[in-house]
Amino acid sequence: MNDTEIYHGKPPLGKRIGAYFAAIPKRFKNFWCSVGRKLKRIPQRIGDRGRYIKNAPKPVKASMGLMGLGQLMQKQIVKGILFLLIFAAYIVYMVLTGGKAMFNFFTLGVVPPNPWLGIKGDNSVVMMLLGTLAFIITGFFIAVHLANIRDAQRTFDFVARGNKTPNFKQSMASMFDKYFYITALVLPVVGVFVFNILPIIFMIFLAFTDYSGQVVLSGALVSWIGFDNFKQLFSVGLMGNTFFKILGWNLLWAIMSTALNYFGGLAIALLLNKKIVKGKKIWRAFPVLAFAVPGFITLLAFKFMFSNQGPINYYIEQLGGTGKLFFGIDSKWSARIIGWLVNAWLSIPSSMLLATGILANLNPDLYEAARIDGASPWTQFIKITLPFVIFATTPVLIGQFMGNFNNFGVFYFLRGGIICDGYFLASDTDLLINWLYSLSIDNKYYSLGAAISIIIFIIAAIISLAVYIKSPSYSKEDMYR
């Protein structure tokens, strides 16, 4: 039956989504098959490498043994010396601190601190950090070493073809021409490694230790404890309870906020798009104004507005009511709803601008045709505008969903520092990210915080990976060339 259906143009969105999910097992299988094929090829590749090492010309072999030697043998003195210097620097680093750091990474220290005897003891966490750093530096060193072998081989081939050995100046010039991409990427890659990847790896390790303020205070050493942190989060008890309560609220919050922000922005954009609206630029300026004010200022302003002596309570009292604590310890839902609306105030302008951009791309002929066919404005909206906008913004929508899921600012500013009954160091408005902050920064439960961040990451990865890889900015990058 289904095979006989013929569509003009693309199949409807529902069908496409269905097909997408139906193909998941197949893609899964393909993925593992390709992994299997790669594994099968490993012995052969090892053989290839072995043969290459055996048959390599002399300078290349020399470079394999000692970095830079091959270059020196081929009369590239400056280059050879530079490579040798890098090698020497690495050896010095490893002898002085690196080797010990690597060893300490596994033991996490053996000497507990003892203030009575004046022993400073081992700082396990610093050891872990420096150990990780040592591994990353070794990785870089291996990369440089491989580059050195490749360079020796290349020079050898170049000379074998009857050319003159390139001198240092020419080598430098090639770094800015043929290998410009390497030169350009060195700084960004090193920066990202040290300030993004190293901390993330460190946090992942941390999730499997028992590092917390108490351990530090009691003077014990940090040790590896496997999955205990995760077990604690998923267990029955205060901790597990808190985790599931917060997770549930976090999901609800992300869905509700994304929906409100998205459709609110779309509604304002459509309103401004109406033909009868004069002075569109002036009307649009108001949301843009809200968009431009730094977020923390608005959040603090709203906190003042709803504070005990703030204007909202002033008017409530003027009207004969009694003042309310909007962000007090018992005000679960009022705080949640105010947070929801404040977040909408902050985010609707950006989704309005987004929707305006998308609507400008919409072909007006479609509406013309629909009007001649006698479609009401509502039908036009449901059948033309909405599918187009939703389809065009799916990746952005996912991004907004994740942004709301990890929305740290709103409840940190509006209702920070409150701990509710039945929650472990958290309040009933806190999202996972606020809990993570409260645990690791305010209360020094570092390893638990790390475990939570891994869980957040897994949720984020599941939601966005599949969608993102399918998005055109990734898969159709050459479209406009």
Partner: protein, 297 residues
């Protein structure tokens, strides 16, 4: 003579358009509700901002003297106090710190982002797809999940309570957000580069002489977005700056309570104004940045 179906429809349309020119009750209602909604939206979005501006001109600083949203009396005293009464709250100092951090990280960060984006867009090399996937996965980690680690790392490098430590973190993390810029470079045709290459220019020269001038609007956009981020960030400075003299404006304003409300308002107005002007000049680019992930047809 029979009237065809198409003619009938056209007649109907003509009739309709004639009716449309008259002021019908329906149309009146449409006007009324549209403009009512617009006014409500404008008030909702403008009101908190206006309130802050109003509050910054209040004579007494404390929130308790306010009559609802309105200060009991007005003066420009608070702005003067902001810059002269610096015993407790050294606003000029905070402002200077923020400016140093934001300008330095904008310049360094933009350089790294533009380089990364250009290379990723223009060159095809072995580890390219690998790098793209890695950055994508890394982007999924909550941005301050690694805060503890960054903090420990900075203590090791002796960079806590150091403005340049923040600059280092902001600019080193900047290349992670290269996708918008890469999208821009993807739209530039290859032929221009090829022509320069045939004329014997090295890739470095092509980058300096051709890419940078073409990418000027994108560079401006990058500079400004990487300026606004440190300008309004509060998490990292809060974590890494413990010394009161090194506070940024965000951390400083966060430390103000109910009784210093007017000071908070004045300080906020003062740092929000440049950003607002920038945004209004660049709203077009901002939309492009926002729609970078969306389907373009």
């Amino acid at each position: 003579m029979k009237i065809s179906k198409a003619d009938k429809i056209i007649n109907k349309q003509i009739k309709k358009s004639r009716v449309g020119r008259k002021v019908t009750p329906k149309k009146c209602a449409d006007y009324f509700f549209t403009y009512l909604a617009l006014i409500v939206i404008a008030v909702i979005f403008a009101f908190p901002v206006l309130w802050l501006i109003l509050a910054s001109f209040s004579e007494s600083g404390s929130m308790y003297t306010f009559k609802g949203f309105f200060p009991s009396s007005y003066s420009t005293e608070t702005f003067k106090k902001l810059f002269t009464d610096i015993e407790m709250y050294n606003y000029p100092r905070w402002f200077g710190n923020t400016l140093i951090i934001a300008v330095a990280s904008a310049v360094l960060g933009s350089l790294l982002v533009i380089l990364t984006a250009y290379v990723m867009s223009r060159f095809r090399f072995g580890s390219r797809k690998g790098i793209m996937k890695t950055t994508m996965v890394l982007g999924m980690f909550p941005s301050f999940m690694a805060m503890t680690a960054v903090y420990l790392l900075m203590t090791q490098f002796n960079m806590v309570d150091n403005l340049w430590g923040l600059v280092l973190i902001y600019s080193a993390g900047a290349p992670m957000g290269y996708l918008t810029q890469k999208g821009f470079f993807d739209t530039i045709s290859n032929s221009m580069y090829e022509a320069a290459r045939i004329d014997g220019a090295s890739n470095f020269k092509v980058f300096i002489r051709i890419t940078l001038p073409i990418a000027m609007p994108m560079i401006v956009y990058t500079l400004i977005t990487s300026f606004t981020w440190p300008w309004s960030d509060f998490i990292l400075p809060k974590l890494l700056l413990k010394n009161k003299d090194l506070y940024t404006v965000a951390v400083g304003l966060m430390s103000l309570g109910d009784t210093e409300f007017a000071r908070f308002a004045a300080g906020s107005v003062f740092i929000a104004v440049p950003i607002i002007i920038l945004y209004f000049c660049l709203v077009k680019y901002m939309v492009n940045g926002l729609t970078a992930g969306a389907v373009k047809e």
